[in-house]
């Protein structure tokens, strides 16, 4: 099997890698590039733990081939904070205890970032449906929704 | 002398008794004497027995004293999630 050479942008950095044709972008990020923030909870697009933003679209990186990233822009949770300054969503997730085990958290943060980019003032219902592709088994979602609401109001004010 | 109540299945293993009078100052001594006097209980003791003393369940504190007049109730060792 011939490897595919890929040149792409991840969190603003130029990155090149060689991957197998059937290797998912999630596996590339985690196993080849050491970006383990995105998690594999199911590998079938049903849990959202591997969420990333690919050319401004929220996707499950387990449903993208590594080869497809050629020439595109990838954003992962590792790129959310600026230096030691957390993104407002990250800060609000901490303040509201919107995580217990935390394994779904990177996916939620990325999905919420995408949601607020497209809808800066969402209703509770819009948040709930906007985050329906991300499973959380610990929190019952209550504190996650509140954290996103709070982050939205902070970001609007900023 | 304390009176010890056995849960249903344990009673069957002790020859159908649901209450046993035993001279024991703490849980360690209680288990030792139970095993001596009722060999049928030994596998249960090895598997784990919890002791409720006045409603509080002790799973592992063998040094726990058995106060006179306290209600001593044996239960299977519990598991949790």
């Amino acid at each position: 099997m011939a490897g595919v050479a890929v040149s792409t942008t991840i969190n603003g950095d130029n990155v090149e890698y060689l991957c197998q044709p059937d290797e998912t972008l999630l596996d590339v990020l985690r196993d080849r590039l050491g970006l383990t923030g995105a998690k594999e909870g199911c590998g079938t697009g049903d849990c959202g733990a591997c969420s990333i933003i690919l050319d401004d679209r929220l996707v499950c990186s387990c449903l993208v081939l590594g080869a497809e990233a050629e020439g595109r822009r990838v954003e992962t949770v590792e790129g959310m904070a600026h230096g030691d300054r957390l993104h407002p969503l990250q800060q609000k997730f901490l303040e509201h205890a919107a995580l217990q085990c935390g394994v779904c958290t990177p996916g939620f943060l990325i999905a919420a970032k995408d949601l607020l980019a497209k809808n800066p003032d969402p209703t509770e219902e819009e948040i709930r449906f906007g985050l329906a592709g991300n499973l959380c088994r610990c929190t019952g979602y209550d504190k996650i929704v509140r954290a996103v609401q709070d982050a939205a109001s902070v970001m609007k004010g900023a | 002398m304390v009176e010890v109540t056995l849960w249903g299945s344990l009673g069957a293993a002790a020859g159908g008794k649901s209450k046993i009078e035993i001279e024991a100052k703490d849980i360690r001594e209680l288990f030792r004497k139970l095993a001596e006097q009722y060999p049928g209980l030994e596998p249960y003791i090895n598997r784990g027995i919890a002791v409720a003393i006045d409603g509080t369940i002790y799973r592992d504190t063998w040094s726990k004293e058995l106060p006179q007049g306290a209600e001593i109730f044996l239960l299977p060792r519990l598991v949790g999630g």
Binding site: G45, L58, C62, E68 | -
Partner: protein
């Protein structure tokens, strides 16, 4: 295994036609990658069609809309014109998977996966949509209902690719709607579904209608008898009850992990009735 990203349809069709082993088209990948992960398919060749010019676009033409095979469903939701003219088709497409899946999945993929429970297909069938196919023999156009032939099987020949889905421009006083039943509010596959497309006459009575039911037979059902029930009516209660009964009666469902025969039969009718009511209102009916 090879991964190839051709830049023209002809090149893609040629690759597929010339492949010796298992070849797979990759558009959104939301079905293909799941099947690969589960070990159900190990393609020797993956043809990624997203770099082909125009395939990622929704084009408005004189006749209507052409939705390219690589258009993610999320993009359909962003097209104001498409939403205005075919709200039922768009809402069906927007029900496939999560927001993450929406960023990838396509209605052509949904059609070619040939699941009886595919969300966009009943709406497309009701809309009278057509599939534009390119292959070794040139181009041809067929109704979407002629694409899936059985669960997991299509009528496409080796080397054929669906290039786009074509939707007509709307006649005045038209409306469509799609409803599906899922146990949760999101993330499920339809247990049963119904799509209804209506055009009213000037008096507000139904002039023409198409009714499709999903997940109730090996392929999506176009229920012509249901359309006949609607035509000439103003969707009074008796008509709606008859519609429900006809749709329930047309079902040939199975018991499976997602639902029972009885449930699917009953709810197909309920959904058809509710979808018809919405489509009627969208068409301006009162």
């Amino acid at each position: 295994m090879r991964y190839i990203r051709p830049h023209s349809l002809e090149e893609a069709a040629g690759l597929l036609a010339g492949s010796t082993g298992t070849a797979a088209i990759l558009a959104g990948g939301s079905d293909l990658l799941v099947r690969m992960k589960g070990g159900f398919i190990e393609p020797d060749l993956i043809v990624d069609i997203k770099a082909i010019d125009g395939l990622g676009e929704i084009r408005e033409t004189a006749e209507g809309f052409s939705i390219g095979a690589a258009v993610p469903c999320a993009l359909m939701g962003e097209s104001a014109a498409l939403k205005r003219e075919w709200p039922g088709v768009v809402e069906a497409a927007r029900l496939i998977g999560s927001k993450q899946v929406q960023g990838r999945c396509t209605i052509v993929g949904n059609l070619c996966n040939a699941s009886p429970a595919a969300d966009s297909v009943p709406a497309l069938v009701a809309a009278g949509a057509r599939a534009l196919i390119i292959g070794p023999g040139g181009r041809r156009t067929i109704p979407v209902e002629a694409v899936p032939t059985a669960p997991g099987k299509t009528s496409l020949a080796k080397g054929e690719i669906i290039e786009a889905i074509l939707l007509d421009r709307r006649a005045p006083r038209s409306g469509d709607a799609y409803l599906r039943f899922i146990p949760r509010t999101e993330m499920d596959i339809a247990v049963v579904s119904a799509g209804v497309n209506l055009t009213l006459d000037e008096q507000g009575a139904v002039e023409s209608a198409r009714v499709a039911v999903g997940a109730a037979a090996p392929t999506v059902l176009l229920v012509e008898e249901a359309a006949e029930v609607l035509i000439g009516s103003k969707l009074d209660d008796a008509t709606l009850e008859r519609l429900a009964k006809v749709c329930s009666g047309a079902c040939r469902p199975i018991d499976d992990k997602r639902g029972t025969v009885e449930f699917r039969r009953k709810v197909a009718g309920v959904l058809a009735r509710r979808a018809a009511t919405t489509a009627y209102a969208r068409a301006g009916g009162k």
